[in-house]
């Protein structure tokens, strides 16, 4: 939990219905190694995904995912001690295809020392208008338990509900567009039991002191994304995506993603991605509160601050030129993404000086994904 365990999308998203419902996903297995390195945090581990069809009507999916965390982030080095921990996530899913309708159920469990999350999901996807249109909707329910390492008595629940609607539309022989809307509602203990906020304290040597953060116990968010993918005249594709986000904590965010996919020969596919993200701070966020208990809700989580991030990604996939027993075809892929986060109201207190005038914080991060895929 000290790690931002985040959403369970790492695995349940892998079970999302295909863009067009009337075809079940191919039988395949993936073995992935992932690594995140930035801001004093290193997270790596494996992810294994297997999908198998039966009678062209049923499909099952299983995913095993591990995060091994070593953290000395700015939050940790300023208010706690560096730590290591491991999070394991297991997800199972099943699809049923009935005519032009696909039904998907999925369950996921995530477990670490101080946090357990369970999520159940149900999705329906329907092809319409001669299969030019795919309409989907779904619902997820999550039951989490927040614990605290140094307090065996501490146990708080979080309940989560998610509603989503998706639309995919073929507009021309070269253009496909889509829309996704998702509403997430949380209730329970939503802050991190280890994190503190900073407030001015003239009696302190540093001029400031810390107290535990306090969040509202409810949050409702809306996200709406529109996307397009265009097939270029020389067999390559351009993709664009815009996502608008707002929530009851006062966070407004925009995300723009642009992608270019280019094959080379029969075996190579190269990808270039640029992503820009910006958000405004939560209403109850401050880098430095004027005094202790300055208001009813208090946060100094940099993920709730005002900031912008830029990401550039490069990827290559190579289809292996030989067959293997029980495997029709296989490929090796490598993706590298470079992130830069720049915060507008989160200061680097390690620099010292007058409270509230420290330099603004920012950091870069490298993300690697190396995986082998086999279709059988």
């Amino acid at each position: 939990m000290r790690l931002k365990v985040l959403m369970l999308v790492a695995s349940v998203a892998a079970f999302a219905p295909a863009a067009h419902a009337a075809v079940l996903p191919d039988d395949r297995a993936d073995v992935l190694y992932h690594r995140y390195d930035g801001g004093g945090v290193t997270i790596d581990g494996p992810s294994l995904l297997v999908r198998k069809k039966f009678a062209e009507k049923y499909s099952v999916t299983a995913n095993y995912y591990v995060d091994m965390v070593s953290s000395a982030s700015i939050d940790v080095v300023t208010t706690a001690s560096p730590y290591t921990e491991e999070r394991t996530q297991v997800s199972l899913g099943a699809d049923v295809l009935n005519g032009r309708t696909q039904y998907t159920v999925a369950f996921s469990n995530s477990d670490e020392t101080d946090y357990t999350a369970n999520t159940a999901a149900f999705d329906v996807s329907q092809d319409l208008f001669g299969d030019l249109t795919t309409l989907s909707f779904g619902y997820s329910r999550g039951w989490d338990e927040v614990r605290k390492r140094d307090d065996a008595e501490f146990s708080e629940p979080v309940d989560r509900s998610t509603w989503r609607i998706g639309l995919s539309q073929i507009l021309t022989p070269k253009l496909m567009v889509g829309m996704n809307w998702e509403l997430v509602s949380d209730e329970g203990f939503l802050n991190n039991p280890y994190r503190s906020v900073r407030y001015l304290d003239p009696g302190s040597v540093l001029g400031y002191a810390y107290q535990p953060e306090v969040y509202p116990n409810t949050r409702v968010s809306n996200a709406l994304a529109v996307s397009a993918r265009y097939f270029l005249p020389y067999r390559a594709a351009l993709a664009g995506n815009y996502r608008w986000f707002t929530d009851t904590w006062g966070i407004d965010a925009s995300t723009v993603t642009l992608g270019y996919t280019h094959p080379w020969g029969e075996r190579w596919i190269f990808e270039l991605t640029y992503r820009w993200y910006t958000q405004g701070a939560a209403d109850f966020y401050s880098d430095l509160f004027p005094n202790a208990n300055a208001q009813n809700f208090l946060a100094r989580d940099k993920e709730l601050s005002t900031f912008t991030s830029n990401m550039v990604g490069l990827g290559a996939t190579y289809e292996l030129p030989f067959a293997m027993p029980f495997i029709k075809r296989s490929s090796v892929s490598f993706f590298f993404d470079r992130f830069q986060f720049d915060y507008d109201d989160f200061r680097d207190v390690r620099a010292g000086g007058t409270p509230g005038t420290e330099p603004l914080y920012g950091f870069g991060a490298n993300v690697f994904r190396l995986f082998v895929s086999g279709w059988f």
């Binding site: 790690l3 985040l6 998702e182 997430v184 986000f245 993920e303 991030s309 993300v367």
Partner: protein
Amino acid sequence: MKFSRVIATAVLLAALTGCSSVEPWVKPYERQNFADPVMTGYRDPVAVAYLNHVFEAREGARGALGGHGGGCGCN
């Protein structure tokens, strides 16, 4: 939740329209481009899901990434 009502109405209208016959204006034989791997945005689910996991961990925004959502979102 006015925004939610607008979305629900749009979906209902789309569903009702589905009862009438609409002639597909892109014929099946014109759709070979969509079978090309370069047109598949979700080609490698295990890799896409991991990157979405990174976004959700570092950003305040969440959702509409194409997955099932859920989970903890602590920190």
